[in-house]
Symmetry: C2
Subunit: 298 residues, 2 copies
């Protein structure tokens, strides 16, 4: 299996689209076409079916345009056992559509526990995602069980600087050596991936860097040229093409920018759209994002 770094770079280059669509299914915001009659069944079960129907429609809409989807585990877990099944089904559907799957779980724990998390997210007979987001706080022991999957073509993105306002409380803290804390997290991610550099110059271990902090994006790009960035915060959270532009390197795969709500959110007046109408809207928005980002990443 090729390194994840190269699979990501090749998929971005093929589509000229350095971006992913996040799958954050909020059951109260799904379009009506996802709903089947619910006679006599459990609520979460019915919700999970609607989430799968929605995910299939989004995947159909974006697969010709973007290289990857990023399911947010929290919204699937919220539906309990049925949610897990919905997540597994959605990941399979994305793979069948030729998409890479970056599973956003942000797991972190001591090694023996992290091993179970890594297996669940990455092993072929469980969720089988192509890449997974993790937390850094347990250090090398905690990352090691995930890193074992790099040779199997899997990738890791370490949360380095998040997109939310209060990230600065914990991430921009100044260290004794004058650097910021997030810089030391990027340093760790860089070390963890050092043995897995691909042909495009990037590692299979990357960093999550919020597009809402353009200064940090640029600083980390300059400091860590081999770290691929997963950049959330685009669209609904406020990051614009010029905010993330500095995150791309000189070859494809330096950054993959992710948007969620801005791609598929509907007004109340649009909740009754047909499946085809929904797909057409989502395709159009994904294409706009891909074009905007391709123009700043060249």
């Amino acid at each position: 299996m090729d390194l994840f770094a190269d699979r990501l770079s090749a998929a971005i280059a093929l589509r000229d689209a350095p971006c992913a669509v996040g799958l954050d299914p909020r059951v109260d915001q799904l379009p009506r076409f996802t709903r089947q009659p619910a006679t006599g069944r459990q609520r979460l079960d019915v919700d999970a079916d609607a989430v799968v129907a929605w995910g299939r429609a989004v995947i159909e809409a974006v697969a010709p345009i973007v290289p990857a989807v990023k399911p947010q585990s929290a919204f699937y877990e919220r539906l309990g056992a049925d949610g897990y099944r919905a997540l597994a089904t959605t990941i399979r559907a994305a793979h069948e559509a030729g998409l890479l799957v970056i599973l956003d779980v942000k797991r972190a724990d001591i090694g023996s526990t992290a091993e179970a998390y890594a297996e669940t997210a990455l092993s072929a007979d469980l969720l089988d995602a192509d890449a997974v987001t993790i937390g850094h706080y347990f250090g090398t022991d905690g990352a090691a069980p995930f890193l074992r999957y790099l040779d199997a073509g899997k990738g890791i993105f370490v949360v380095t600087h998040s997109s939310n306002p209060s990230s600065v409380e914990t991430q921009d803290v100044l260290l004794a050596d004058g650097s910021s804390y997030y810089h030391s997290v990027a340093q760790l991610a860089s070390e963890w991936g050092a043995g897995h550099l691909g042909a495009f110059g990037y590692s299979s271990v990357g960093a999550v860097v919020g597009g809402t902090f353009p200064g940090q994006v640029a600083e980390l790009r300059a400091g860590f040229p081999a770290l691929p960035f997963l950049i959330p915060g685009y669209g609904a959270q406020g990051a614009k093409p010029e905010d993330v532009a500095a995150g791309f390197g000189s070859t494809p795969g330096g950054a993959i920018v992710s948007a969620s709500r801005s791609i598929y959110r509907l007004d109340d007046s649009q909740r009754n759209l047909s499946r085809d109408e929904f797909i057409s809207i989502v395709t159009g928005r994904a294409r706009d994002m891909a074009d905007e980002l391709a123009s700043v990443s060249a």
Copy 2:
């Protein structure tokens, strides 16, 4: 509903046992009595049934002795949809046995996502744990959705200093003001819980502090008298009564020490024990731990 802080203090005082038993079910290490004939069923489904049978036995063994159990979500999630069901069933069984449930999930994300995680772990119609472990790295926005449950009697433990060796790489980093990074995490946890102080003097927001780092346990106890500690690392990971002694405050509820493998691990020669024999061994070990810890917490 009483504050979690007071429910924890009262439960510890009642049993004179400042400790919890971790539930870390590894399917390949379960005693044979947990297994039913598996004709024609899915493997993970059968494994999940065994995990529930094991959890019920551990709960029956320890409920008369300790105030709480701490299920480790990773080992349940490893079993997929059936694992979620096993976790929910185990939490209900623990509540029926009168135990508090500290769900160890270490979730952390931006606010809109953390909301889904908080709801899954703490809301009454989902997992309904009494307390949950979280990561600090997203700052106040990321913690806020969990903190909303404090008024409903729920508790939060923020991972501050973990028990594993490489915790020092990321947690003991020296800041510009001369303090260690983990100290700033304890400071945040302390601020998040400031409005929820109970009658015993502790907050409903606590800190996870590994018992394998006695110096940090003592330092954080002195610096943050109102933070209750969840102290993992006891037993199999190496922490001894004298290592955690400094974590207890002057009233019950200052620390709850958690052990997992050392309470229920069996030698290969013990895998065929009957359920009653298993319960008797687990009860004995839990009582020994409770006695050891009561003697150093007085």
